[in-house]
């Protein structure tokens, strides 16, 4: 097994006085899909948002412990969250394209980070990102239409294209299919499977079938604690912990 790209050690997260995560130790491997599963309120989204420090937006949220990406402590004082988020992208539960054209949606990250030096390079990166997100064929002839005019599944793929355009090391996905119909979900799942060749993906999901289908490793959270982590096959077929067994068989949740 190679060195993990993300290494969380003894992570505690508090919302004011309420503790949401208790001493989470988790290693996430590079260029794999890791799914975080568990019942609602178990802290899996909190953990995901701790990785790119989106929790900083909540004034009452505090972090304790160590979270390193590629050996760099994410919570070190010298860390600039802008730089962190440029390299750790995020896809949200509800598709949230900017109320601008499809082209501008994908170009935005490239523009603010000044990642391209010419118009043709920018267009090339936009096309490449949309192709990688499997959206190019559907939108190639209407790049200047608003991103919000697309269907839900297309919007979510646009958000993925927007995220991968800036070529992050890690992509965090917070229940990316929960607002989509089964067909759109299948398309996104296929896409996630392709993207893992180039990106490390951490995905929070409510659907155990989805976790089983797309992820190589699975981490089960319960009541703010990491109960079990292992290869997806092992977690779903032969869990070590009884609580995991109970959850995947539907007895808690």
């Amino acid at each position: 097994m190679s060195d993990p790209i993300i290494r969380a050690q003894n992570v505690d997260v508090f919302y004011a006085d309420k503790q949401a995560l208790f001493g989470v130790d988790l290693k996430i491997e590079e260029k794999q899909v890791t799914s975080l599963i568990g019942p609602s309120g178990c802290g899996k989204s909190t953990f995901l948002r701790a990785i790119n420090r989106m929790n900083d937006l909540i004034p009452i949220c505090r972090f304790r412990g160590s979270l390193k990406i590629d050996g760099q402590d994410v919570y070190a004082p010298a860390v600039d969250v802008v730089s962190l988020r440029a390299q750790v992208g995020m896809v949200f539960q509800k598709p949230n394209p900017f109320p601008k054209s499809i082209r501008e949606n994908v170009a935005y990250g490239l523009k603010i980070h000044r990642l391209t030096s010419s118009k043709s390079e920018l267009d090339g990166r936009i096309e490449h990102s949309l192709k990688s997100a499997g959206l190019w064929d559907e939108v190639a002839d209407r790049l200047d239409e608003p991103g919000t005019s697309l269907s839900g599944g297309q919007q979510q793929r646009l958000c993925i294209a927007r995220t991968i355009a800036v070529e992050p090391r890690v992509i965090l996905m917070d229940e990316p299919c929960s607002a989509l119909d089964p067909i759109a979900t299948a398309v996104i799942e296929e896409l996630i499977d392709k993207l893992r060749r180039d990106f490390t993906i951490v995905i929070v999901t409510h659907s155990m079938q989805q976790a089983a289908r797309i992820s190589q490793r699975t981490a089960f959270f319960h009541l703010g604690k990491l109960v079990e982590v292992g290869s997806t096959k092992q977690v779903f077929t032969n869990p070590v912990e009884e609580r995991t067994q109970n959850y995947i068989t539907g007895r808690i949740g």
Partner: protein, 419 residues
Amino acid sequence: MIDFTKSAGFNLAARHRAETRFQWMGKGAILLALAFLAWLIVTIAVGGYGATKLVQIAIPVDLSATNIDPNNIAAARFGKIVKLGLRTRFPEVKKRKDKKKLYNLLSTEASFELKRAILADPKLLGGTRKIWFTASDTLSLYVRGKTNVSVPEDQRRISDKEIAWAADMQKNAEIRTVFNWGFFTHGDSREPEIAGILAALIGTALSLAVCFLLSFPLGIAAATYLEQFAPANRLSDIIEVNINNLAAVPSIVFGLLGLSIFLGYFGLPRSSPLVGGMVLSLMTLPTIIIASRASLKSVPPSIKEAALALGATPVQAVFHHVFPVALPGMLTGAIIGMARALGDTAPLLMIGMVAFIVDIPKSILAPATALPVQIFLWSDSPERGFMEKTSAAIVVLLIFLIAMNLIAILLRRKLEQRF
């Protein structure tokens, strides 16, 4: 058999009656409100209609060299020439008292009208010409049938003699009624037949321009900071409560503030649109801030989150994504605030914009008055003619208000983005 009709019980008859009763009460309330509105508009429009009419009388004036030196037109005594013309028209009038009455047929503006006519067309010189002059307010009201002639002579402003002269002139087609362009091109005047709203209109426009330039940038900057960047603590709460309170403060208080600070402390020019606009912007700022905050708040936070997750700085996230979506709402709020400022009189009285202004203000530092103040001034004047002017000025003010609200709606439609 199962019964799905009204007679199935469930107290249905009473419930439906209550339903109908409530709906009729709602419709009645709306009808009543509409009726009052229609009544108001019709009364004002009917009252103001007269102000668009100008009565003129034709008088033969002798413009030969004996009266006017063609090389020195300005030195001529135009008032005397006009009076002479009147006396030639009615040679039978001999008594001093009657002559005075005769002169009363004409507006005091007549001599200036003659001067302007000659300066505009010097070819008139060198003979006797028939020229149309503005009639006096008294004659004008009589000609337009606004005078009750059935009351005894000493109880009306127009005497029997004047009525006889007017009848004589009417017989000879020497009296006509034209559209009163002067109402839109003149400043205020002591004479109702001359008074116009242009000076007040310009004063209002200048004040509102100053008000918009000051309050819009300030208002949206404050709203954006408070809504998007300010930490949520006690201080922010206090500021929010106070802004809400300021929006409810009577406008005359802002006038007093302007009087003591802008005029008293900074010594800015009294009665000027600059100070007027500053005082009005004090008044509109809270409105703009509240409307802009509501507009910013209505932008889904997911858009800002998306930008932040992509590595945008908070300022970039707000200005690239939240701001454009919120702008139409902020603009609408500003225009509605301005519409309120347009109709406000009290703060302007405090800073001296209540002056009698004949000249059209040429800059934001020149003394000026404003439309609502002009309405207030005219409504206070005893002359009958000013009653019409008051109504007409109110119509103009209402048209302005409607136009501003219309602009707000159109801008919102045009700028609104879907998300």
